[in-house]
Symmetry: C2
Subunit: 545 residues, 2 copies
């Protein structure tokens, strides 16, 4: 595979992966020293990694939509800053009007606030669960989640096992499961409860993670599509440095002075440093000599990629808005009639109207539904997805202009989506394995971030951090004192909660306190009733006349 006649290029830094993380690292390196020679290697025939923007037939003729990552929020400081630098604008996610919720065999409920339309008992159940999660996640150290006294127990437990023991109503369970199917692309039974908490911690809270209001992860979309970030970054660093369609295959650190990187296509690069800006699983497809540390090898085994199919359907009119619907649906799918598929496909839908006003709906099929529907033919799947959209938004769905779906499971060099997560029992080597440099190899990719890991913002943070680590070794004098601190510590950043997020938390806490009080009063009343019945104590409660 690796022959003597290979073309050889000498560079300062090889970056593996031309997603947002790898290209941000290249951009940061070039910013610090424009004379640095950089080669970015990418297996796909495009830049952008898990962001991909495509043109679709639209109301105005044609417009662009994102098949991959699409949302950013002001709370995501790293990507927000980069968007400004790249002169990319955002527009808010449309959320006005009624939202829909449908769970199990129940009928469709609509609601307008951020509080889903559930019964009082179900809402209390959900809020108590969320407050417990918030209470736990805040106790975790992002730098070392395994140091928590309950870490071993939480890691040995799947998030589903925690749900089973904490939530009492099936509606609350269904809501949480549907949300996480789209956040991580997996079933809750597949993810370590400790990593589940950490993931929420890295997003600054469960509300920021799952909502689409101000200062959340789903606040805005990028004008022109998210792939613009990678395209503009590659223009900044020089497109001749980005080698598409040729993946790194073999990486050798034979002596302590340089690293050799061979590509599948037979290119050979000699570099001083290598930044691996790929999903963790992608490292299994590269042969390392010497091998990666046993901790990294073992950890990668425990961090599979999620399963996700994203669907975009464009229309002439945003007919749902006319019925005062926001386009937002949360559903566990209900029961499917298609053999081999337990649930109907969609988990979450949103209004996907473009910045220029071309109407569209966006749907996510995540976790086990993505696996089951991924096996069906394109025709069967499209029919089921359109039927499911029509179930919520009416027959007008069938007069769509364009329909496109992307099954990220079949995407080469991503092998899944939207993000990698840690399996139960996988967290014991997290701290040493996730982003610890090995010799001249440094590690980026959104999974290695400490804030908004799994999101575009995490990809930017990780790319910048890996670049600083390399610059600290290559050009230490070009760093300012703050950057030196950042470059020295692999896990370096504590998130600052924005003012709004704090306010939101206060509100959430108030709801929780009221909920807890109601439950306590109820339990006390029942207890006192029985006490009075069977003893002569005759206790009186202050809140009962």
């Amino acid at each position: 595979m690796f022959r003597g006649k290979d073309k050889v290029a000498d560079v300062h830094v090889v970056i593996v992966g031309a997603g947002i993380s790898g290209l941000t690292a290249a951009y940061k390196l070039k910013m610090k020293d424009p004379t640095l020679k950089i080669a970015v290697l990418e297996g796909k025939d495009r830049v952008g990694g898990r962001t991909e923007t495509v043109p679709l037939v639209a109301y105005t003729g044609s417009d662009s939509w994102d098949l991959g990552g699409q949302w950013v929020g002001r709370c995501q400081v790293h990507v927000t800053k980069l968007l400004k630098e790249l002169q990319l604008k955002t527009y808010p996610q449309y959320i006005a009007g009624k939202k829909l919720m449908q769970l199990g065999q129940g009928k469709v409920h609509s609601y307008t606030s951020t509080i889903p339309r559930l019964s009082i008992l179900e809402l209390l159940d959900l809020y108590l669960f969320m407050s417990k999660i918030e209470y736990y996640q805040k106790q975790l150290l992002v730098e070392d989640p395994y140091s928590h006294p309950k870490a071993v127990q939480w890691d040995a437990m799947s998030a589903a096992a925690f749900l089973d023991r904490t939530l009492y109503t099936s509606a609350a369970r269904g809501t949480v499961a549907a949300a996480m199917r789209c956040v991580l692309g997996c079933e809750l039974s597949q993810v370590s409860f400790l990593y589940y908490l950490l993931y929420i911690r890295m997003a600054g809270g469960i509300t920021q993670l799952i909502e689409a209001t101000e200062n959340t992860a789903q606040e805005s979309r990028i004008c022109g599509g998210a792939q613009q970030i990678a395209v503009r970054l590659s223009q900044h660093i020089g497109e001749e440095s980005v080698h598409l369609g040729d993946a790194a295959a073999y990486i050798q650190q034979e002596n302590s002075k340089f690293v050799e990187v061979w590509t599948k296509g037979g290119m050979k690069f000699c570099a001083e440093y290598v930044i691996l800006a790929t999903p963790p699983k992608a490292l299994e497809h590269i042969t390392f000599n010497p091998p990666l540390s046993s901790e990294k090898v073992d950890f990668i085994k425990r961090m599979p990629m999620g399963s996700m199919i994203k669907v975009i359907v464009t229309f002439e009119k945003a007919f749902w808005r006319a019925s005062n619907m926001s386009g937002e649906v949360v559903t566990d799918g209900g029961i499917s009639r298609v053999h081999g598929c337990a649930r109907r496909p969609l988990c979450i839908t949103y209004d996907g109207t473009s910045e220029s006003g071309c109407p569209a709906l966006i749907g996510f099929v995540g976790g086990q539904p993505a696996v089951e529907w991924g096996k069906k033919t394109a025709k069967v799947r499209q029919k089921a997805i359109l039927d499911h959209f029509a179930f919520f938004f009416g027959e007008e769905v069938y007069s769509f202009l364009d329909y496109v779906e992307k099954d990220w499971n079949t995407e080469p060099y991503s092998w899944g989506g939207p993000v990698s997560f840690v399996s139960p029992g996988g967290m014991q080597n997290f701290c040493h394995a996730i982003q610890h440099p090995e010799g001249r190899l440094h590690f980026a990719g959104t999974e290695t971030a400490t804030a908004w890991s799994g999101y575009m913002s995490g990809a930017v943070e990780a790319g910048e951090r890996a670049a600083l680590e390399v610059i600290y070794k290559l050009r230490p004098k070009s760093l300012n004192p703050e950057e030196i601190v950042l470059s020295k510590s692999s896990l370096h950043r504590e998130k600052k909660e924005s003012h709004e997020a704090v306010k939101r938390n206060m509100y959430g806490r108030a709801v929780n306190v009221v909920g807890a009080a109601v439950i306590t009063c109820g339990v006390a009343t029942v207890a006192v009733y029985f006490m009075n019945k069977y003893t002569q104590w005759n206790v009186k409660l202050p809140f009962l006349s």
Copy 2:
């Protein structure tokens, strides 16, 4: 990567993987029709897969030892039958004398029966746990474990979570964890409890799985080493058919008539059928066009390989036998003083004396200890392992003749050992993904077996079954009625418990019944004591005077 000038060969069947499973398939195919043209592709430069036999300095000058799989038992019918056909003999594992056990910071205990030296309470705890496991595992259908009413709950739970809730004494927990570290090469927190039960089910019971007495998995070793199986099989099918050092890289089923297989080295094979006899994870390293089904892709993500380092130390004398020690140790490692390693390395040791009487000790470092010690330099690791052996068997350990260790994590085309296991939440697609043919692709490998999955016997069973599936399509007339039934059903076999195993189970059950009775009596006594103290009932128990 795949050029037009590639060398092309036309064959009936391509088999990917020259381990025991792939070569058994080839052997079976050739037995049915010697005219069949077969090509076996293997990435390693040797046959045998997870069996590898090497010469070591020994008492007599030199002898052979197994770095990989080494044990067989009469209860493993498939490998036993094959060994006879290949005229390979076995000799019993030496188990006479005292066994040792050391847990936590406790001292070393010795015992001679199969019952470890624990306190009555710890033994009761252990036996009740084992009887619960036996009770559960027998309820599982090997063909469809997910059909069990508790399957979803058990799959969402790690085996460690079940342990935590079922075992009360830390000694019992330590014993079970140490045993499974070597059986699956993982921590119990990393394996789905449903798969844990299934794995025991497929071995016919927990006793058969973990003991080294008659009719268990560790009963005998193969004269000349286990790699002999693969060597002799490849001689039978013709060594020219086995292509070493050239892995399959790309498999295309473009039309319905044949499959094209390209190797990394540029060979191209056209075949009517392909048998993939690799660990599930290895399929991720092959590009399939069209892609494998979404269920298979998702399932493979959830079936990582374990972590295992095996150590063989040879001596002039079997000095432990002189002190009436069997060489068998079960330990959770106690506390290590080496930075970065929580426990000392060894989990299980055995007498490894060869058939010709050359003394040796064999040690296993499995699960997290394999990860932590795998990161250390060879020198540091060897010292720690020898120290650990010496801790149990005395200073004579240091006058060894030869020392060899094999870290299976760094083995190419195995990427771990001894076996793949299913992560929590991974079992929902097990039934459809584990061995379901896809077009002209059939699947073998020990992980796909229904009896003794994970063992050499499972590899043989799976290879034979895949061969029958292919022969049924290629040469249906050469099959007898029984074989036709076998070839038609992907999951076909119910294990028959041997007479001995049934007796053993009776014994185990008797112990459990006694244990349960003692506990019930104890609880009843305490309950009645308090009842009599606080009421006027004055109940008398028949077993208390």
